[in-house]
Symmetry: C2
Subunit: 115 residues, 2 copies
């Protein structure tokens, strides 16, 4: 499997968890330290650390050290990348709709092997 495929895997996997999506929303409103972030969830600090790691490996956030804290901030380009992955799928949808529109302009009772 291609590395690009794996990147899309990581991206969608990171988004497929309500806790992580919530973390993204919180970090968008201003960068937060990991422990500050952890205080918002009913789970251990280590669990939050793991979620942040998943977001980081997906390229959705970056960590920046400031003193003893580690600030988590969202990457504005990340959602654009997710959108591109969706676009790649949606373009196939559109092509199909286009083809169906084309068929409507042609004569009926046509090709039996359209598949």
């Amino acid at each position: 499997m291609d590395e690009a495929d794996r990147a899309v895997d990581r991206l969608f996997h990171a988004l497929a968890d309500a806790t992580r999506r919530d973390m993204l929303r919180r970090c968008v409103r201003g960068e937060l330290s990991v422990s500050r972030l952890a205080a918002a969830y009913p789970m251990s600090f280590a669990a939050v650390q793991k979620h942040v790691t998943v977001l980081e490996r997906a390229g959705l956030v970056t960590k920046e050290r400031r003193g003893r804290e580690q600030l988590v901030r969202t990457d504005p380009d990340a959602v654009a990348r997710a959108r591109q992955a969706l676009d790649a799928l949606e373009s196939a949808w559109r092509a199909r709709v286009d083809r169906m529109s084309g068929l409507l302009s042609e004569e009926e009772g046509g090709g039996p092997d359209t598949g």
Copy 2:
């Protein structure tokens, strides 16, 4: 957790697998029976069945019986739903960018509690 959250979970989880994304692309080009679909992958029929089930529970495809075959077809609204989920996240990004633009118009050395 909300049911809407769980729906988004299922949606992104279904998209977080290269095999399933490939299945979507194949089905977009024309509805396929499960066994025809299965012939395209180096895994057992049962494994393909499970992938189709994941796509179905995410609302990305629907199955329709024709004779002894089960035709798999993509749901055109599904990608739109995924896009909406991304939009909900991206709107927060945009709001932040907006606010930063606003700050640039204001005087410098301003608020220390912007977070």
